[in-house]
Symmetry: C2
Subunit: 212 residues, 2 copies
Amino acid sequence: MRYHKIPDEAVQRLPIYLRGLLFLLEQGCKNISSRNLADFLGVNHWQIRKDFSYFGGFGTPGTGYDIERLIKEIRKILKLNVVHKAALVGVGNLGLAVLAYPGFRIYGFEIAAAFDNDPKKIGQKVANITIENVSKIQTLRKRKIDLGIITVPCEAAQETFDALAKAGVMGVLSFSPCHKTSRKKLKVIIIDIAMDLARLPYYMPASRAAKA
Amino acid sequence: MRYHKIPDEAVQRLPIYLRGLLFLLEQGCKNISSRNLADFLGVNHWQIRKDFSYFGGFGTPGTGYDIERLIKEIRKILKLNVVHKAALVGVGNLGLAVLAYPGFRIYGFEIAAAFDNDPKKIGQKVANITIENVSKIQTLRKRKIDLGIITVPCEAAQETFDALAKAGVMGVLSFSPCHKTSRKKLKVIIIDIAMDLARLPYYMPASRAAKA
DNA sequence: TAATGTGAAGCCTTTCACAGCA
DNA sequence: TGCTGTGAAAGGCTTCACATTA
């Protein structure tokens, strides 16, 4: 492998491969060819080979890929070979849903703290986590928590984001479109449910919707 | 404008423009140039002009774009000029959060039904919607509901998806990665929170995470 | 003059075909 | 023989520069 620029798109596909490989490993598979993995995931086999080749290529000609090895390599590339601790801010319905979501573990995430500003919630325990006062967000740096998850209402999003940034988190997953991300050197991913829904009708084959 | 293929990426940007334009209209702005809109949204001005040109171009040289007109055009392109009714399946914490989310209205969405399989929940009212038994999903076709939102646990995702497809919805927004989307002619958008989170560490400048 | 709309250039990603290796 | 890894071709999106229009 030469020093290519690695396409963002290739990086974005790695978690998909990882999920599939983890499933296959659990099923008892030890080895898989790019074609079989592609069929299983519903993608192209040359895409898979190309993507892995950006990082050096992990397969054996004539045989395929060792699944366990591949999982390890992808985890290393995505920096998921360490446990990332995340702090969630905003323990409303959405926050509770995220706290209860079991899907984070396979990627090596642990939600290690939860914050809210409602005195009735502070001190309560949810999913083995004691809800803390938002004023304690600054303690994240000391606690080696490097990810923030924003599940607060729109109005509180900006100050929450600023507080997390100030507390030194390196990445933020936000469910609110209502904050500017600032020029700080931290990565932000915004999940905007309404906007995602807004992209649906354009692609829908026909509409039985009523005229507005 | 000639018959170009319109890039998916351009379509995906339209909801962003729409949100910004609606905000500006509310602020009292009547007219805006591509450069000013670009600065406001943090994007490139030629990108904006190009995107609109794919659909014909809606501006006036020397003057800019009439905001109200532009909003109308984008809505028409995205098929948001009609009210789309959506049905939500799975009234857990996530479902409650989605039901309470105020952001859908600006895009012309109305959550018109909610389903669950828990007898304790069925019949209760949430956000002015009476929760119905999932067995009633088949009534969606008659009720002119063309969108489905899946907020059920992983195990129930597949049958929920199949039921919605059978009920004739044209688009599905799913919070579960645990179902195949089938080859049916309906558009599916999957929000996979864990996978989104998994993409963060790669881009994070440094990691203070602990070795696993 | 000021700003749009667009052909063309540039750049990046995907796809292909095949050399090379187990 | 079967499958990987990769240079090269193809395709598509973004950026640019400018002709055009109010």
